[in-house]
Each structure stands twice: as structure tokens, then as C-alpha cells.
């Protein structure tokens, strides 16, 4: 059972903080009592996002070597044998890609662009392979993650990857993400006799 008095205090406080006058004065003040409690066991299957400190990441030990065949069987048909991508599917690895970000043809690979290695595990587990998502076990996900890191020269072929290593791995481009500093333009909203606009060049 709920501890009603404590709950009432909490509810009113939250309501006030949120500026939710409607809730506090709705007459029911308390929680509605809808929904059911969810247990840790029920949550386990769904709690698959991994935060930037890796809290939700399961334990695992693997090497790129263990992931090679899996990658070739489950990933290479779209991403290419070396992560170079087939057609318009995403490129995972490309030699020298880190040098392209400030050019007119940037190549955003895991190694050149992705700021967190844990994102790789989280994304592969939830969304890959594209045609059969959430079909990989945690072990398989680890192994493929290791192999993709290897394709990006971030892990030796026989180097061990485990939970701690994946969390602490510093990705080369991590320092290049900056806060949203918009608005970054200032248009004076001139109304008459304004400076002539020119035809803009096509950039190739």
C-alpha cells in the first residue's frame, strides 16, 4: 500500500515545481492509481539502452577474431567485407576517413565520427542485422562490436574486448562534439532598398 500522507506531500511538491496547478487542484491530488508495478525481471528484456557511462552494458569477453565470421555472415552483405559499405548502406570503416570531416566529402565512420564505443553495442543489439533485429545474443553482439572496432583499427585482431574496455575506450572523434550554439545567424530583416542578393554558387 502507498503511504498516502507522504505521497500527498510529494505529489503537491512535484505539482508546484512543475507549475501544474491543474493537477494539484483536480480534486484527486494524489496519483491516479493507474498502471501496474513492473518488476526488475520484466524490465530486464526491455532495458537495452546503454548510457554514456555504460551502466546497462552486460558483461562479456571477446576478440575481433571471434566476431569475424559473424560479421561476414550477418553484416557484410550491406556493410561490405571491410566495412566499406555496399551501395548506399552506411560505411562502417574507411581508411583515412578521419581526415575528411572538414572537407566537402566527409566520411562518417565508426572510427572517424562516432564519439562512444558503447553506442555500437547498443545499436547492433537493438537494430541489427537490419532484416533481423534483436536476433543476436549478447555474446554475438560483443563479438561483432569487437570486429567493427577492429575494422576501424581501434582493436587488434586478437585483442580482448570486455565490458570495462568497451566503456573506457576513448573514440578518436569524441572531443570534436560541441554544444548547440544556435542562433548562429543574424538577419537584420531589412524592409526596403536592401542589399542585392546574388545567385549562390553550386558547391561541388
Amino acid at each position: 500500500m502507498f503511504r498516502w500522507v507522504e505521497l500527498l506531500k510529494k505529489t503537491l511538491l512535484v505539482g508546484a515545481l512543475m507549475g501544474l496547478s491543474g493537477v494539484a487542484s483536480a480534486g484527486d491530488g494524489l496519483v491516479f492509481g493507474y498502471g501496474t508495478a513492473i518488476s526488475p525481471g520484466e524490465l530486464a528484456g526491455w532495458d537495452i539502452s546503454i548510457n554514456q557511462v555504460g551502466e546497462e552494458l552486460p558483461e562479456g569477453v571477446t576478440t575481433p577474431e571471434e566476431g569475424e565470421n559473424l560479421y561476414l555472415m550477418r553484416c557484410a552483405q550491406c556493410h561490405g567485407e571491410f566495412g566499406e559499405a555496399v551501395g548506399r548502406w552506411p560505411v562502417l570503416a574507411s581508411p583515412g576517413a578521419e581526415e575528411t570531416l572538414a572537407t566537402l566529402e566527409p566520411i562518417k565512420t565508426v572510427g572517424s565520427y562516432w564519439p562512444y564505443a558503447t553506442t555500437l553495442f547498443s545499436y547492433i543489439r537493438r537494430a541489427m542485422p537490419f532484416y533481423e533485429p534483436q536476433s543476436l545474443s549478447a555474446e554475438e553482439t560483443y563479438a561483432i562490436t569487437a570486429y567493427v572496432l577492429h575494422l576501424n583499427d581501434l582493436l587488434e585482431y586478437d585483442e580482448e574486448l570486455n565490458r570495462e574496455k568497451l566503456i573506457s575506450m576513448e573514440m578518436p572523434n569524441q572531443g570534436n562534439f560541441i554544444p548547440d550554439n544556435r542562433p548562429d545567424t543574424q538577419n537584420a530583416a531589412c524592409m526596403s532598398g536592401c542589399p542585392e542578393m546574388k545567385a549562390l554558387p553550386v558547391i561541388r
Binding site: 501544474l20 496519483v31 524490465l43 537495452i48 539502452s49 548562429d184
Partner: protein, 468 residues
């Protein structure tokens, strides 16, 4: 009630078939154009005049189908060309792709449900509401204290029992217009600006659900601290973009699409919605439920939502790191660029259309901003030398499409450069493409809210050109 005689029914069907044949013929001749045989010309003339005065139109002479002949109504068959479209070269697969709303064919501020643009990351699931759940749970703060005290699981019926709210908001993909940073590529406003739609959404406020789940009041306080700060101000204080008060939102689709949302936004005006424009959400928009974060990037409005989780760190999901970060000219990239900027476009007349006759026209367009309401829209007919403030059509609502219109005159032989420029309630003015290129380069993909120019040439044809 008198029953329709079989021969009349037969006549209706026959007429209908003939009408459709004529229509096909009419369309064909329009498409092929060029020299028409004399017989074809007269047939076309007949098709065009048979139902005009003084003749009695065919449809006035026979009974039409009765009520419920179509249990769920559809647009007139003569509007079949008004539909969503996609750009096949844009993505590797239609399952992770986008379709565009045909803005040039729409009126008012509401997007019909069947024309709302689509963005799927793992295709469109078919979800039984009986088997779908929304889970709300949370992690702990640095001291191991739970961020919420009652992890809960809601059925769709549970959610509809809560106090409901209906609001009209746009949803826009941040990649809208994103194919034209380097130059012109698109030949209709559907494809330059059609990654935006606007509906009346009905659901329950997320703040209500978080309260139900016993969110820690201290955590609420921490979240709200970030509401009126810029990301730079927070960074200068050594804090992340949400002041360490985050919430993961995750879908039940094949992409299990997930984004980290700043908690203040969820407390401010976010909703879990189950209806759009008065009916249940369409599967394309997240049936049975989606998250609505008004004014924020479209993909943060997680469709088919199954889970909200509070946390003190962002999750750095693929869709907020590898994608939906804005690469700048120097190789740095902006992250967590949530706000959809102030923007506008002229939808009529617009690229791909043609003015046939001289005289007065009404220029019409749409303006919008994630920052609140549109204060003003100015229109130029001469490529930005002179501007006139257009009339805003009421209602002008927050984070909602706003219609503007302005009469103008055109005659064959005249060339015009049509532009619109929106100003929002904060006084921010929509930039030129030159200003955006100066500030960001051309690799950003996202958040391109540049002033567009439609060149109306001396023959009345409209073209997409870039000025700035």
C-alpha cells in the same frame, strides 16, 4: 425508400466507366501534348463541355451511392495525385527512409492524417494495442537514490483514462531541406520542405505520468534548471545539455528507435499521444502511441513508444551521435541540436507550378518555429530588395504551422523572385542560405532553415533558385 432500379444502377456504372475513360484520355493528351488529331480535339472538347451549362451534368441525373457505401471515407478520385512521395536515391532502403507531405496541394494548417510525412528507422510495425505497453522506470542518482519511486507499466486503456489534452503542433524532420545545402536538387515544394506536417494531437501529459511513477522532486528541480539556459551556458558551468536530468524514450519498432530527451522538456509540454486529428494515431505515426515533444526534432517524437527511463547521463544513442549531429565546416559537430528553427516557405505559387493568366494572385505559404509562435512573415517579389509584411491567418499557435498570404499581380513577360522570411516571437529572423553557409559550411545536413527563392519567369513557370 424507393429502391434504385437495376437499369438505373447499370446506367450509373456505365456513366462512371465512361467518365473514367474520358479522364484517362484527357490525362493522356495532356501528358503527350503536341499535335492532337482533329477527332481527339473534338472528343476532348466534348469531355470538357458535356457537363457544363446549358447541359445538365451527368451527376445531376442519377442517384449517387448511398451512405456507408464507403465505411471509411476517402478523398475524391480526382485528387489521387495528392499523395506522399519519396526520393529513392536518398536512402538505401524504404524501411529506413522518409516520405514527403505534398504541401503545394494542401490548405490551412492541418495535415490530413493520410498525408503526414513518414520517417521510419526500421519500417512501420503493426502493433496490437492489447499487446503493447508503456513502461516508465528510472535509474539512480550519484548517491544511489532512485529517480522515481514507482516503476510502472501502462496498458493503452490505462493511458486513455488519464486527463487528456489536445494540442495542434507541427512535427518536422531536422533534415527538411537538407538536400540543398550545396545547390538546388528538388523541383517541388513537396520535396524541398515536405518533411513537415501539423496535426491536432490528443494524449496525456508526460508530466502526469512521471508524477504517477513517483518522480523525485529534487530531480524535477534539477531538470528545470536547464530549461532557460543555453547549452553553452550549461557547458560553461561544467554541466551537460540537460543538467544531468535525462529521459530515454524508446520505440517498439524494428529499430527500437531511442533518443535521450532533456527531462525539462518532458515536464514542460511533452505528451504521450494516442490520437491525431480526432482519430487513433495512424500506424505511420506510431499507433498505438507516440511521444510528442513540440518544436523539437521530429525523430525525438518517438513513435510506437514502449519505454521512458530517467537517468543522470544521456544514452548517446546512434541517432544522437552518428546521425542527427550537425557537422560544421571545421570538422567539429554540434550535438543535441533539438530545436527546430524558425522557417517559412511559399507554397503557392511554388516551384513546378505555372501561372497561366495575367492578373491578381494570392501568394500563400507556411511559417513555423520550435521556439514558440510566428510574429511576422515578410514577402519579397524582387529577390530580397524590398519586403512587404504578409497577413497571418488565424489561428497563430505555438509550435504550429502558421499560414500567411499576400496578394500580388503578375503578367506574362514579368520575372519575379519570390521569397518569404519569418520572424519568431523572440525576434529571431530566418536567415539566408549565404548566412547559414558562412556559419556552418555545407555539411550540416540538418537544421537548414534558409530563405527560399522561387523564380517566376516571364512565361509563368516557377523554378527553384538559390540566392543569398
Amino acid at each position: 425508400m424507393k429502391e434504385i432500379r437495376p437499369e438505373v444502377e447499370q446506367q450509373i456504372e456505365q456513366d462512371y466507366a465512361e467518365m473514367m475513360d474520358r479522364r484517362k484520355f484527357f490525362k493522356r493528351t495532356l501528358v503527350t501534348g503536341g499535335a492532337l488529331a482533329a477527332g481527339a480535339t473534338s472528343a476532348l472538347a466534348e469531355a470538357q463541355t458535356a457537363n457544363l451549362p446549358p447541359n445538365i451534368p451527368r451527376w445531376s441525373r442519377y442517384l449517387g451511392p448511398g451512405v456507408t457505401s464507403r465505411g471509411y471515407g476517402q478523398p475524391s478520385e480526382f485528387e489521387a495525385h495528392v499523395k506522399r512521395g519519396n526520393v529513392s536515391w536518398l536512402t538505401a532502403s524504404p524501411n529506413s527512409s522518409i516520405s514527403f507531405t505534398p504541401l503545394q496541394h494542401l490548405h490551412g494548417i492541418i495535415t490530413p492524417n493520410g498525408l503526414h510525412f513518414e520517417r521510419h528507422h526500421g519500417g512501420m510495425p503493426s502493433i496490437s494495442p492489447e499487446e503493447h505497453r508503456l513502461v516508465i522506470h528510472g535509474g539512480q542518482d550519484e548517491n544511489g537514490k532512485d529517480l522515481l519511486s514507482r516503476p510502472l507499466m501502462f496498458t493503452m486503456d490505462d493511458l486513455q483514462r488519464f486527463p487528456s489534452e489536445s494540442r495542434i503542433h507541427f512535427i518536422e524532420c531536422p533534415a527538411n531541406s537538407g538536400m540543398e545545402w550545396k545547390g538546388v536538387q528538388m523541383s517541388s515544394v513537396q520535396f524541398t520542405h515536405g518533411m513537415i506536417s501539423c496535426c491536432e494531437w490528443t494524449g496525456v501529459k508526460v508530466s502526469t505520468l512521471l508524477q504517477e511513477a513517483g518522480i523525485d522532486p529534487e530531480f524535477v528541480k534539477q531538470a528545470l534548471y536547464a530549461k532557460d539556459k543555453t547549452h553553452q551556458e550549461l557547458a560553461d558551468e561544467g554541466k551537460d545539455a540537460a543538467n544531468g536530468a535525462w529521459c530515454l524514450a524508446e520505440g517498439a519498432d524494428a529499430g527500437a528507435m531511442d533518443r535521450s530527451i532533456p527531462l525539462w522538456k518532458l515536464l514542460d509540454d511533452a505528451m504521450i499521444v494516442y490520437a491525431q486529428n480526432g482519430e487513433a494515431l495512424r500506424p505511420e505515426q506510431g499507433y498505438p502511441i507516440r511521444l510528442l515533444v513540440p518544436g523539437f526534432e521530429g525523430n525525438m517524437n518517438i513513435k510506437w513508444i514502449r519505454r521512458l527511463k530517467l537517468g543522470i547521463h544521456p544514452w548517446r544513442t546512434r541517432e544522437e551521435t552518428s546521425k542527427y549531429t550537425d557537422l560544421l565546416e571545421d570538422g567539429q559537430a554540434r550535438e543535441f541540436t533539438w530545436m527546430q528553427d524558425t522557417n517559412s516557405v511559399i507554397t503557392s505559387p511554388s516551384v513546378g507550378q505555372k501561372l497561366e493568366k495575367p492578373g491578381r494572385y494570392e501568394l500563400r505559404g507556411l511559417a513555423w518555429t520550435g521556439r514558440g509562435t510566428i510574429r511576422r512573415v515578410d514577402v519579397s517579389l524582387d529577390g530580397g530588395r524590398n519586403w512587404t509584411t504578409a497577413e497571418l491567418q488565424s489561428p497563430v499557435l505555438s509550435k504550429c504551422l502558421t499560414r500567411f498570404r499576400m496578394p500580388f499581380d503578375w503578367s506574362p513577360g514579368q520575372t519575379m523572385m519570390l521569397q518569404s522570411r519569418a520572424m519568431d516571437e523572440t525576434g529571431f529572423v530566418q536567415p539566408t542560405l549565404a548566412q547559414l553557409r558562412d556559419a556552418r559550411g555545407v555539411n550540416s545536413i540538418y537544421h537548414k532553415n534558409a530563405i527560399y527563392t522561387w523564380k517566376l519567369d516571364e512565361k509563368g513557370d516557377l523554378h527553384n533558385v538559390q540566392m543569398g
